[in-house]
């Protein structure tokens, strides 16, 4: 029954109670029209972003971005001569619900690809479902690494594309000798800070007493004590910087407290990995001028592709003040890569597209190109920007060329020996080069561990 549905008719007919009509029409049209009808069938694109709950602030714009990209693609004639259709579900910032919604997208809606997720815990929750049902997931946010799944494409930054270059910038260009690692208490900041601590100690010989680590709960709003501690930490005569993995809207009271206690970017710069243009729209940025952020894209990138993207976005949202940010660019790249791979493969079949996409190269928005690597991560430039009083970033430093994403960090003991390569014959996400064996997928256990926290 299911195949009949899919192959004979576009969706709208069947979703309503007109099944009888549908059958009748099918009978009249007969088998000869089947092939043509299949070509008219829209390609379904699943969007798995929270539209309510705490993450709605960040994820809603990503849903809009994918919808805009689909609209643009349809105006340009669709893909393989077929139109694209967005299937939007709302996992409501509820991590286990992400897995259910992903199952709904793959099982019932039978989407050809999914764009979605923001937090690492939601990604971990979806992982087993996507692997079991052989789906395609494009994940657009910077994350802690230590993962490479056959069915997931990571278009955001791995730690070596954001955190590590940012710290090197602080040490080499700014001359920082003392680091306060401040983060929200969950998996991304903890793993990133573990990598950074190892990196600072082993590669740069930073002493233990020159590193301060502090974690706060989600949505923390009383920063008085922590900021006072940072202030005292920075008063010891050595140039000090804060590396912030504080997530979401806890950043607003954090920066307000910094400026109220008179900590200026010129004294103690804060470099953030989770603060972008979108987050700054909720803040009066006057007192924050000079604080830093490390990303792979800024809205202020001076490039015509970027200006076109911004204009399209402003037109799509109808809001003159709408901003673009790094995860949006990641979706832009991911969507174009997927479209290119589908075009190359001539089909939307998951296995074929998965093989075809490795090596696909598309322009990014900062004037360069992004290529899909065999470990399902992409190449990206690393940019350091300083916050301006208009809520934008001024790019003060960037890597001379793009950096390829490294799934497994070189600075952590267990992950140093692992590599990921999804090309034949290796086809493994965690191949151990020392003992020459593949660890296999641990998605189910990881999901369980992440959700148990």
């Amino acid at each position: 029954m299911n195949t009949l549905k899919r192959s004979t008719h576009p969706r709208p007919f069947l979703s309503s109670g007109r099944f009888a009509t549908a059958l009748l029409t099918a009978a009249i049209m007969g088998a000869s029209t089947q092939a043509i009808a299949q070509d008219d069938d829209p390609i379904k694109v699943g969007i798995l972003h929270s539209l309510s709950g705490t993450m709605a602030i960040s994820e809603t714009v990503l849903k809009d971005t994918v919808e805009m990209l689909i609209e643009q693609q349809n105006e340009a004639g669709g893909l393989l001569g077929r139109q694209l259709e967005a299937v939007v579900v709302d996992p409501a910032s509820n991590w286990p619900l992400f897995a259910e919604r992903a199952r709904e997208l793959l099982d019932q809606e039978e989407v050809d690809v999914i764009f979605g997720n923001w937090t690492s815990v939601s990604r971990k929750s979806v992982l087993p479902v996507v692997e079991e049902l052989n789906g395609l997931l494009f994940y657009p946010v910077q994350y802690e690494g230590e993962e490479s799944s056959e069915n997931v494409f990571y278009t955001g930054a791995a730690p070596n594309q954001q955190a590590i270059p940012a710290v090197e910038y602080l040490i080499n260009e700014v001359g920082i000798e003392r680091f306060a690692l401040v983060g929200t208490d969950y998996v991304y900041p903890r793993t990133t800070n573990r990598i950074l601590e190892a990196f600072l100690k082993d590669e740069h010989g930073i002493a233990d007493e020159d590193i301060m680590v502090n974690y706060t709960p989600f949505g923390h709003s009383d920063w008085q004590n922590i900021v006072a501690e940072i202030r005292r930490f920075g008063e010891e005569g050595k140039p000090t910087a804060v590396i912030s993995t504080v997530n979401g809207d806890a950043n607003v009271p954090f920066y307000t407290e910094l400026s109220n206690q008179g900590i200026d970017a010129a004294d103690i710069p804060v470099i953030a990995f989770s603060v972008g243009e979108q987050e700054l729209t909720g803040i009066d940025t006057g007192p924050l001028v000079g604080h830093l952020a490390a990303w792979n894209y800024f809205m202020s990138v001076d490039n015509d592709d970027n200006y076109d993207f911004i204009d399209a976005w402003i037109e799509y949202t109808g809001d003159d003040m709408a901003v673009t940010n790094d995860p949006m660019e990641a979706h832009y790249i991911g969507f174009n890569m997927w479209a290119e791979a589908v075009r190359k493969a001539g089909t939307t079949d998951v296995d074929t597209v998965k093989d075809a996409i490795i090596g696909v190269t598309v322009p990014n928005l900062s004037g360069g190109y992004a290529a899909m690597m065999p470990n399902h991560h992409i190449t990206k430039p690393v940019l350091i920007g300083e916050i301006q009083d208009n809520g934008q970033f001024d790019i003060v430093w960037q890597t001379p060329s793009t950096v390829a994403g490294d799934a497994w960090s070189d600075y952590l003991p267990g992950s140093r020996d692992l590599i990921a390569d999804w090309r034949k014959p290796m086809e493994c996400g965690n191949f151990n080069v020392v003992n020459g064996s593949c660890g296999g997928s641990t998605a189910a256990e990881e999901a369980e561990a992440a959700l148990a926290e």
Binding site: L51, S52, T54, A56, I57, T60, E173, V174, D185, N214, Y215, T216, P217, G219, H220, S221, D222, Q224, N225, I226, A228, E229, E235, E236, G237, D249, V252, P253, T256, E257, S259, N260, Q261, G262, A265, A266, P269, T281, G282, I283, D284, P287, V289, G290, L292, D302, Y307, D320, M321, E386, Q388, D389, N390, D394, I395, V396, W397
Partner: protein, 537 residues
């Protein structure tokens, strides 16, 4: 916008007509401008090191406009058009920005940000610029500028500057400037291992002085080293006291937030006995009222904030009346149903705000007089926004106490809660009292929202973050006792802030919760239990 544009066009026209005439009349001016243009052009290079040299060159030129250029560069408003003209961006929001010519000061209308290129700076250059401006400002006739500049020079003084500063100290009239300049010179001398510097820094709490003294303590000269070490020990002692005071202030300010959030609940839950899970959303309404007020009065965030105090109270009180009339009155005496129903209301209100306004947080501007901090001494400064909230909490508390103790409404409320049937038979309209009490409690929640808008994010989740804390404070303080709420809120705040430095924010919260659970086990009626027959009911 359009006016700017036409003005710009007019200027361009006028410029093209008069440019030849000008060239003839003021040839010296043009020569100056040529030199100035050259100075500015040196800024438009890739390397930040070269830019640093260009800044030094500008500083050394005796162009009067040098300070303005450096300030514009520091603010990121010095930009260049495609035809190589240097312009000052007057307002950099949106896609088109109004600009003026840097050299002539003429307004050039609006330009798209695509056509402008900013002269970028980084933090190192920003530091250099600030120091440069500070040196220029030392000679400024403006006392405020001299003060900032002298403050800026602490720890930034080099050998060349010392004689100049010594001269300036002689001439300086303002006490504060003189004090800072003396300190700045002393820091330089102490770091160089001079006894005079170490002596001058004795008792100074400024971190730069401490750094200088600890360097002097490692000096080769044992006399200097000992003196510095002795000074340091004294300073450390002072710092400890200041740190204690600071923690106390942090605790009181966190406590005042808890009191504000809980005090409305102390009335609806404590006095009336209604479990209102939508209490947090009433706070959210107060916070959104502040935002709406600021939207209505653009450019006057302070006035809007003050007007939001009555407005936030009214909005939340009306919402409270609606909830009381619409739901709670039908569930009298059924606490479980009330809890579930009001929880439902809280979800409805959240989603309503999300759909009608936006799922994104709204920006509430902090007025000028509420940002920054009050400097007590070099080691202790109290943040102003928190101080206002602390004061506001105390005022709200005093007001509520007055209403409950001194007004007829307060008397009736107490009568109805103590014995409803008796009060009614004495001619008190219990239903009306219920409405008024609930409106009062809700209105106070609205006031808390207005205050919270200055401390935290204004978004649909604002209320959720405070509802647990509010119940915690009311239960800890003793249900039905306003004094209990005040003492409980302030002491929980202080306990939390004392624990935080060594336990971390997450653990401190957990410890406080465990402490309350144990305390309630021992004294189920809280800190200040109600006595007498009322307590039995």
């Amino acid at each position: 916008m359009r006016r700017f544009l036409s003005l710009g066009l007019l200027c361009l026209l006028l410029l093209s007509i008069t440019v030849t005439a000008q060239a003839q009349t003021s040839s010296t001016n043009t020569a100056d401008d040529d030199a100035a243009l050259e100075l500015l052009e040196a800024l438009d290079v890739e390397s930040y090191a070269d830019k640093g040299d260009a800044i030094t060159a500008i500083l050394q030129s005796d162009d009067e406009r040098a300070r303005d250029w450096l300030q514009a560069l520091l603010d990121g408003r010095l930009q260049r058009t495609e035809d190589g003209r240097f312009v000052l961006v007057l307002e950099n929001r949106g896609r088109d920005w109004p600009v003026a010519d840097v050299l002539t000061g003429e307004a050039l209308g609006e330009m798209s940000r695509r056509d402008l290129e900013r002269i970028g700076i980084n933090n190192n250059l920003r530091n250099q610029l600030r120091s440069a401006i500070a040196v220029v400002d030392l000679y400024s006739p403006n006392v405020e500028r001299r003060r900032t500049s002298a403050e800026r020079l602490l720890g930034e003084v080099d050998g060349e500057l010392v004689p100049t500063l010594d001269d300036l100290i002689e001439q300086e009239e303002d006490e504060q400037v003189r004090y800072r300049l003396t300190q700045a010179v002393a820091i330089y001398r102490a770091e160089a291992g001079e006894m005079a510097g170490v002596e001058a820094l004795d008792g100074s709490l400024h971190p730069r002085s401490r750094v200088a003294l600890s360097r002097a303590a490692n000096s080769d000269d044992p006399v200097v080293a000992n003196a510095a070490a002795a000074s340091l020990a004294g300073i450390e002692q002072q710092l400890k006291i200041n740190r204690g005071l600071e923690t106390l202030y942090f605790g009181l300010s966190l406590g005042s937030v808890l009191v504000l959030a809980a005090i409305g609940l102390a009335i609806t839950f404590g006095v009336m006995g209604v479990i209102n899970m939508a209490h947090g959303e009433l706070m959210m309404l107060g916070a959104y009222t502040t935002w709406a007020m600021q939207q209505l009065l653009p450019g006057q965030p302070g006035l809007a904030l003050i007007l939001s105090i009555p407005a936030g109270f009214m909005v939340a009180a009306l919402a409270g009346v609606a909830i009381e009339r619409g739901v709670i009155q039908f569930l009298k005496g059924r606490p479980l149903e009330t809890l579930l129903a009001t929880f439902g209301i809280s979800l409805i209100l959240q989603q309503l705000v999300r759909t009608v306004i936006s799922p994104l947080n709204r920006t509430v501007i902090t007025p000028e007089w509420m940002s920054g901090s009050l400097v007590v001494n070099d080691a202790l400064s109290l943040t102003l926004n928190r101080m206002y909230v602390l004061g506001f909490a105390l005022v709200v508390f005093a007001g509520l106490m007055l209403i409950m103790r001194r007004t007829r409404l307060g008397l009736e409320v107490r009568a109805v809660t103590q014995n409803r049937a008796m009060a009614r038979s004495m001619g008190i309209r219990a239903t009306r009292v219920d409405i008024m009490t609930f409106a009062l409690g809700s209105g106070v929640a609205g006031l808390a929202g207005v205050a919270l808008s200055q401390l935290t994010n204004v978004g649909p989740n604002l209320g959720q973050n405070y509802i647990i804390d509010s119940f915690m404070v009311v239960v800890f303080g003793g249900v039905g006792n306003l004094w209990g709420t005040l003492v409980a809120g302030l002491s929980l705040g202080v306990i939390n802030q004392v624990l935080e430095p060594w336990a971390g924010a997450v653990l401190a919260k957990i410890i406080v919760l465990v402490f309350i659970i144990l305390f309630i086990q021992k004294r189920p009626r809280g800190l200040f239990p109600q006595k007498g027959r009322a307590a039995e009911g």
